[in-house]
Amino acid sequence: MTRITPKQENKDSIGSVLVVGSGIGGMQAALDLANSGLMVHMINDEPSIGGTMSRLDKTFPTGDCAMCMISPRMVESSRHHNIKMHTLAKVVKVSGHEGNFTATIEQKARYVDPERCTGCGACEPECPTKVINIFNLGLDKRKAIYALFPQAVPNTRAIDPVHCLYLTKNVCRKCEKVCEAKAINFADEDQLIDLQVGSIILTPGLKTYQPEIRQELGYGKLKNVVTALQFERLLSASGPCSGTIARPSDGGHPKRLAWVQCVGSRNAHNGNPWCSSVCCMYAAKQSIIAKEHDNEVQSTVFYMELRAFGKDFDKYIEKAKNDAGVIYKRAMIAEIVEDPETKNLLIHSVGEDGRSVKEEFDMVILSIGFEPHNDAAEFAKIFGIAADEHGFAQTSKLRPVDTSRKGIYVAGTYQGPKDIPETVIQGSGAAAEAMALLGDRRGTEVEEVVLPEETDIEGEESRIGVMVCHCGTNIAGTVDVKKVAEMAAKEPGVAHSETIIYACAPDGQQRIRDLIKEKNLNRVVVASCTPRTHAALFQDTIREVGLNKFLFELADIREQCSWCHMHDNENATHKAIQIVNMNIAKTKLLVPVTSASVGVTHNALVVGGGIAGMRASLSLAEQGYGVHLVERADMLGGLLRNVRTNLEGDDVQAFLADVIQRVINHPAITVHLGTTVEKVDGYVGNFQTTLTNREIVSHGALLIASGGEEYKPIEYGYGQSDNIITQRELETLLAGKGPENDKCYVMIQCVGSREEPNNYCSRICCQDALKNSIAIKEKAPDAQVVVIYRDMRAYGLKEDYYRRARDLGVLFLLYTPDEKPQVDVAGDKVKVTLPGKVLGMEMAIDADYLVLSTGLRPQPDGDEFAKKFKLTCNIDGFLLEAHVKLRPVDFPSEGFFLAGLAHAPKNLEETISQSLAAAGRVGALLSNDKLTVSGVISKHNRNICMSCLACVKKCPFGAPFIDVDGRVSHNEVKCTGCGICAGVCPAKAYQVNYFRDDQLLAMVDSVTDMT
């Protein structure tokens, strides 16, 4: 199948996209679009890109430093040749239509010429004006000339015209005098720029709730009451107290910390009615990190409901409870009072036994919620899109990233509260929609990159530059980085060594480029974090100044040294020296490696014909690629066939029928029913997959959307009575004979979920219970509905339905897993008893229907399936993505992608978002005509090969083969560079590029030298 150009209604459409907002969602959309050959204009109203994520200290569950994760993305966005950044800019007018918009941008004056500014920062100490630092949420001050944060992108200062003495009072100009680069330009003016784009993606991000409104919590009056976002800054190594948590009142180290949940959320009276979705998890994260900072910290979280609904979230809460000793108290806070002497804080709450409790804390953190962006209302007007009742962009649950105006898409928190991975997913998903719209305009607006000629270093003495990264305090807090750099300087072949605060930040990258030129370096070692995430970035950096990418090595002194030898500074420093020196020994022997490129088959193979697989297939077909859709059942539709409506009331069956019809009718999609995958051969861009019907399909990427299954309960007497049913069966019952006024419906939540052996939240069951409860009460108001629950996980805007259910008179009763409800079948009735906490007595309900909220399970043959594709599953049997936060739909193996229930339990809207995201990621890959193959491959020397066939037998990829002359040859295109051939070859006829024997032996020698 060849690539099919999609039909285009608007012949005048333009191959560029405007991305409004450049947080993690905006950057994801921009990078996917740019990689697919579309030109991207990314605009942002702050002087740096990065958004809310750049303000976070660490992210859960890995505890990765947020800056370390987002920094490479920021650098990539700023360096991508298909992305034009416009900072300090906002859109003031949009005209035109889908495919051809004109957006008028107001670009604020920066007063610093970004072309000239080196980011040296010499101007800042000279500036006499101190301004409240908004980035650090008012915890400290900055100057009127400033960078938003130390790793800002673009790395140029900006002058705040509201506070600059010259711009307000016509005096000073001190920055101008000290700037050697002559970058200060007071004559700079605001400008209006018109941009022609085919599509627009809105990712303006969020605003946080202003907790002053809730006066009883004392924020703004009591010094030691801070918001969670302020606490992130207090935790952060680049924050106002350099990562040692200091109490605002006295700078002391607080030991007793309390978090107050739902501040400004789930409260229509003096906050917002919705649930902000992320606060339960960030509170757990912050309490764990606080414990890491100081082992004496004792944390307490006051919460209403623990909404740990995402993949592996419950396990993280368990970690907080068990490993970090966090105390969780289900209580609403009446008041926070300050002790005037100590400035400690007394929290008044009502315990579970109904009694009033007073507890003292050193510091209280308010878990503030999300609100639509500041200008959301104006935003909707400018872009001509509809907003919902709360001010979020209005979308349908069936088209989660489409706004009401064609050609304008939305991603992230402007669509509703959500966390980082879901924002990233929507970023890729919105990009996929724009790619589908502008498929035939790919490559029309972009320019090709020209890299400088590679420097010939043959015959040159090794001149290695060594950069030892502080990584804020991540490394420098444990390892004496200065000493490491000093020791490195003594190693043979090292021409220069120094330390650097953040090697991966733009100024760090620029420093590396400058040093290469200045010191005439021909090889580089960076000692920082793991090569698995950061090597590619530095390789690109050195290539930009003409060094071959493989004249670089990354010494991992963070993950493999400072992080696991915390508080053992002397030994950690010694180890870091050894790690750096062994990498220097290797680097000394590195030689340039040339990378070959291969063609790409512009088809995708999608495994699974449920809604995830079908929606992704449609998007890919619309983008212009061929799709093979494989489904093992003999009909399309998957689990969605059993669902009638969603919580929001959309007609799911009509939607499903429409999608199935479009899939079947689309000329670019070939559906293979009753078929599964037998065997996958090939590599990214060029797979050959054998199906069980013996058909062989060629494809460039593979998308797994193999789904899950609904749990069939064995608990609570299911099967003993016709009146004990599941939520899905109730849905069918309600659609049939409907709800009855004289009946009592009792629902039990978390059946077969959140306990061993299936100790995870199935995410959809609370929504199912609300959906059915509301359906009953709306039609039969006199019917009694009781929901027995552990935590109602009505996250995000679903809280509206939780409230509606309560308003309609649905009763919600709490149970704990150690005191589960008891069920007895008595004739037509089902008696449900449970301990009544408030009454202090047992309660019994005679139910006409007992409805079990059963969860989702991975496919029963999931393990076997995963093995076939060499993929891994988490402990619960769901497939494991490449990175929980930033690569949520990628697999670690190149060319493999993931969507739907195979990843984790999720509802229809989330499944659609994820399948669009996967289609976007696949599309960006398939848009390439050629892929550059990794240079790390095995090189075969025929002159010394004895053709013993050891390699032919051992190679798992079939790369070595018996050539026509009867001797062994090596097919480098199939080679993955694993080096098994080199390991087994008795003649040493194979050497793996970048992992040659002499290079590895040099490392061994270096390690053994030090003892």
Partner: protein
Amino acid sequence: MVIDTEKIEEPKSPEKPQEVPIDWQANIIAFACHYCAFAAADLAGVMRLRYPPNVKVVRLPCTGKLDHVYLLRAFERGIDGVFAAG
């Protein structure tokens, strides 16, 4: 012929047993696959798991790349232990 049992002696190692110094730390080299064991070593760091600092990791593209020569060279040069993981 009578065998003189007294003349048969237990073979003795030419090496003399030595006291292990109390602060002695084994010097260990680990060969780790980039995709699994090296990633696991990273994960150990991310999870802040503590382990003795006397192990240095050599990253291989795959444990299949491990050559006997590396092991022999390491022992020849006095390494105390080799850990191959992948």
